[in-house]
């Protein structure tokens, strides 16, 4: 942990970068030590994507048509499933309170935790998506667009999910409540993400959808860590 913190030039103790590096390396180390949880999310993603052809029939044209949407919905559900691991564990064992007391600024370590969550959940899904796309018979261009859209979209899911999961800390009926809060907010990401691959498959340019996703990502990066911090403060009040 100290190695990662001191290797960054800006990482003075108590700075944003130091907090980010500390929380990022800590959460990533934790998920490496328990690879089962990370792999479960990936396995869930692959499994659900495999169930769809069995359910709707193996007609290649139909599969190529629904493929991007199905993969996006699976990514959404997988991102949602891994959300409780983000803050809830640290909340119950008191780590979150200790982090609040640390000299690092709160947006720093909260962003670090969110980034680690994305590396452990969103990134593997993005890397795997072309493989799943092949199952659905998508062509090369659509596969690439799908992967780029997931690369831009899954961080937004992690950021939105972080704010929502921080809001539900200590709430009754946590899991279902989190679904009710997070999934509606995920809808725009789903629309533009699946829209990009659909446009590519229809021979149109996916650039407008990708630009909107990128704009959404910038807005999310700028605003949502602070919303998550406010939510954590409310939870620990």
């Amino acid at each position: 942990m100290s190695v990662a913190a001191s290797s960054l030039p800006l990482a003075r103790p108590g700075s944003f970068a130091a907090g980010f590096a500390w929380a990022f390396s800590r959460d990533l180390t934790l998920s490496m030590r328990h690879p089962g949880e990370t792999l479960l999310v990936v396995a869930f993603f692959v499994l659900v994507a495999t169930l769809f052809p069995l359910g709707v029939g193996a007609d290649p044209q139909l599969l190529a048509r629904i493929g991007p949407g199905v993969i996006w919905v699976c990514a959404l559900l997988a991102a949602f499933l891994s959300l409780p691991a983000l803050f809830a564990g640290d909340y119950t064992d008191g780590c979150l309170e200790q982090m609040m007391l640390s000299p690092h600024p709160m947006p720093g370590w909260a962003s670090g935790k969110i980034a680690a969550h994305w590396v452990a959940s969103g990134l593997p899904l993005t890397v795997l998506s072309p493989l799943l796309g092949l199952q659905y018979g998508l062509d090369a261009g659509t596969l690439g667009t799908l992967a780029v859209a997931l690369l831009l979209g899954t961080p937004i899911l992690s950021l939105l999910g972080a704010a929502c999961s921080a809001l539900t800390l200590g709430a009754r009926g946590g899991g279902v409540l989190l679904a009710l809060l997070a999934l509606p907010l995920f809808v725009p990401v789903l629309i533009f993400g699946a829209g990009a691959a659909d446009a590519q498959a229809a021979g149109l340019s996916p650039a407008p959808h990708l630009s909107l996703l990128g704009a959404g990502l910038i807005l999310a990066v700028m605003g949502l860590p602070f919303a998550a911090c406010t939510a954590i403060r409310i939870a620990l009040d």
Partner: protein, 239 residues
Amino acid sequence: MNFYYFSSPSSFYRLAGAMAPYFFAAAIVTGIAGMYAGFVVAPTDAQQGEVYRVIFIHVPAAWMSMLIYFVMACYGGICLTFNTRLAAMMARALAPTGAMFTFVALWTGAFWGRPTWGTYWVWDARLTSELVLLFLYLGFIALANAFEDPRRGDRAAALLALIGLVNLPIIYFSVQWWNTLHQGSSVSFKGTSMHVAMLWSMLLMAICFWMYAIGAALVRVRTIILERERRTQWVRNLT
């Protein structure tokens, strides 16, 4: 008496009780006038026939669904910034009315869509974003009631309302940004493409819904105040 006198729940309780009947009375009067203008005076539409009269309920309900969310988020912002109790109670009191109007807008829209578009539902940008708004309202209500400590629920729900605010411009501009089945607005500040009686009916119904929403929120906030303050002396003195 200063401006903040009514930010105390006990004084606002009396004010709300005194004001609510007037808002309900205004809602009844404008409602009857709007219905009369809409169902008797306004002519039959040349293209849609009688079905178009759904708009006298549908459009004001859709307006109110967005307006109430905005007001609710403003109360949420006040609650988080100044840590006031009454603002959070008002946000809670508005949420069920807003959810009801959102549902009414979706429901009447579906019944209008069946004869004119030929389908109850399309996955159009405006319909989808309005549905998301309904889920935001439901999430707000669920989150506000999910904690043992009501103040915790107040503040968490207030933050959720502020995050959900990004959906409002998406609903409002969806008919311009995406070229969709749902038509654009017929009413603007520059003028209207409607018959005068139709416009008046719609505006009267909008005022009716507005008055009803305020009245219902005031009645509901009274019960919330009583529930929260049930251990205080002034509530005990009421009985």
